[in-house]
Symmetry: C2
Subunit: 336 residues, 2 copies
């Protein structure tokens, strides 16, 4: 038995207005066709009692909530916020709200988080780079309607949207190579991150296809602090250019290098990934690869809505990053 939360119920409104709950419901949902005076009375009473229908009860009766969930690995990363913003705007236009959940607190419980959050709404957009493929395909079924971000073809027929990290980082590496860099160092993302794997693949391709080029790898992470911590390791490699897992890491790295007395880009060039708004404001401004993140959100919504409606979603999309050249990259010193 619920402790009454003080809010008026439909029954109370009905009684006060001298009509049946059914009528109140109809009036509230603009499905009422009878005497306008009755509707008016109901509305007045409802306003008077400041009645507003209970969400749970509605959801229960209707079987839908008009809400979707968005799970991100780290809400503090502006790149995900940009996706969220696009998603939330798009969903809002169709009358849907989005619930945000951040799995950074405990990544291990991501599947649980997803499941739990999913049950509070009609569908879910999942961005879970650290979840294993097995875990993913295991829970995918129980999460539908579902759209995946940055996880391509998990075998299942789940619509997905991805950024081509592989191609993006390769372009970045090629940019550095064209400047004259031969020894690059990649500051890795989180151990279990799938998108880190894509980047590694891209770099391996680059290395293979580019005679004379070499890519060393050092441990990193996904945050500015990880970037700072990686600075000494980067310097030790002797590489003339560093590719960071993302902009956050790059920013940390930039500062870590400065603290070590290393000049960027004179001694070491640095690149990021994502082109977060702050990337323009670093010193020197960060060369990075970007993708229109809000677009990712919009596209995700299109597909999710289709799935919700039982229609066929548009085909999967793999967005190609665009290299944004700024001044954190330059020719290596000795080659000048």
């Amino acid at each position: 038995m619920a402790r009454r939360s003080g809010a008026a119920t439909i029954a109370e409104v009905a009684k006060a207005a001298g009509v049946s709950p059914a009528t109140v419901s109809r009036v509230m949902n603009d499905r009422f066709v009878g005497d306008p005076a009755v509707a008016e009375r109901v509305r007045a009473v409802a306003a008077d009692l400041s009645y507003s229908p209970s969400h749970f009860a509605r959801s229960l009766a209707l079987g839908q909530t008009k809400a979707i969930a968005f799970i991100v690995p780290d809400l503090a990363n502006p790149a995900f916020q940009a996706v969220l913003s696009g998603l939330s705007k798009a969903a809002g236009r169709d009358g849907y709200r989005v619930l945000v959940a951040d799995s950074s607190e405990n990544p291990d419980e991501e599947p649980l988080l997803a499941r739990e959050v999913r049950r509070r709404c009609d569908a879910i957009v999942l961005c879970a780079p650290r979840m294993s493929d097995e875990e993913l395909s295991e829970i995918a079924g129980s999460l539908e309607p579902l759209v995946l971000i940055n996880r391509t073809g998990s075998g299942d027929a789940v619509p997905s949207l991805a950024i081509d990290y592989r191609a993006g980082i390769r372009s970045l590496a090629e940019h550095l190579h064209s400047l004259g860099h031969r020894h690059l160092v990649y500051v890795e993302g989180p151990e279990r991150s799938v998108s880190n794997r894509y980047r590694r693949d891209g770099l391996e391709e680059f290395e293979r296809d580019t005679p004379g080029a070499r890519v060393t790898r050092v441990a990193g992470g996904a945050t500015t602090d990880d970037g700072i911590a990686a600075a000494p390791r980067v310097r030790e490699t002797g590489a003339t250019a560093a590719l960071a897992f993302n902009d956050l890491v790059a920013i940390g790295l930039l500062n870590g290098l400065v603290d070590l007395g290393v000049e960027v880009p004179a001694e070491i060039s640095v690149t990021g990934f994502d082109d977060i708004p702050f990337a323009r404001f670093t010193t020197p401004p960060l060369t990075t690869a970007s993708v229109p993140h809000p677009e990712l959100g919009t596209q995700a919504w299109q597909r999710l809505l289709a799935v919700i409606r039982g229609e066929d979603p548009e085909p999967d999309l793999v967005l190609q990053p665009h290299v944004e050249i700024r001044s954190s990259t330059a020719r290596p010193e000795h080659s000048a």
Copy 2:
């Protein structure tokens, strides 16, 4: 009538296990005291059908959701994220989830947003700097349990937590004054923002109490872009130091000034507010005033939980910002 979402219901589990729904419910909630074999069977069947209880139905029956909402004016601002992070951790420890809503899309509908979101959960933490006092006290009642952030004593007995922007910005101004600056310029926050008013108050106090000091005001906003746009206006004032509404604006301003060829801090000192993580990484690193934001979230949860439980919350708290001196502030040129 709900369209069945494919998920198993308690009735199905009950039937499959040859028991009553009541028993299933009890087993699922660890309230079962009977034959362990029965419990085991129920659990097995539940697992088999991958049953998980419907949230709405539970909420409806229980009258509670174990979720709270957090409304922020702008999720892109790292300061609010820090609050969110503290809140979410604290609430999580008590088994509560937090739903995040960002009102930046359309600030005018903040009251509606709050109301709607509130009905999806048990309580709400509201950070609505742009809502008018009237609007606020108008809806406060319908939002309870409620904790307010950065809105002190709205007359009503709503627990609140605030940052002392007035004192904080005053300290910043005094820091600049002590460096020798006499003409300061304040880059205003959003027009209707209450926290902007506090800052203005602080600066007026400073001006009144500090003979020879002068504070000009120019239009600004709350984002980096607003900061960039304010740069020419700042320069025109001829002030030797600029206090920005927050760090985001300060960062924009820093860059806007550089673009205009103005050197910081040589020609103009700049300060921010909030000490977001990026503040350390600007060039020059930003002098700012800070408050432990996650702590704000934790404190908010303490109070909210008390209110939810019908207990008396701890008294309101006004956190005192600490001035973080970095190198975006220095003695004015001619005084050197």
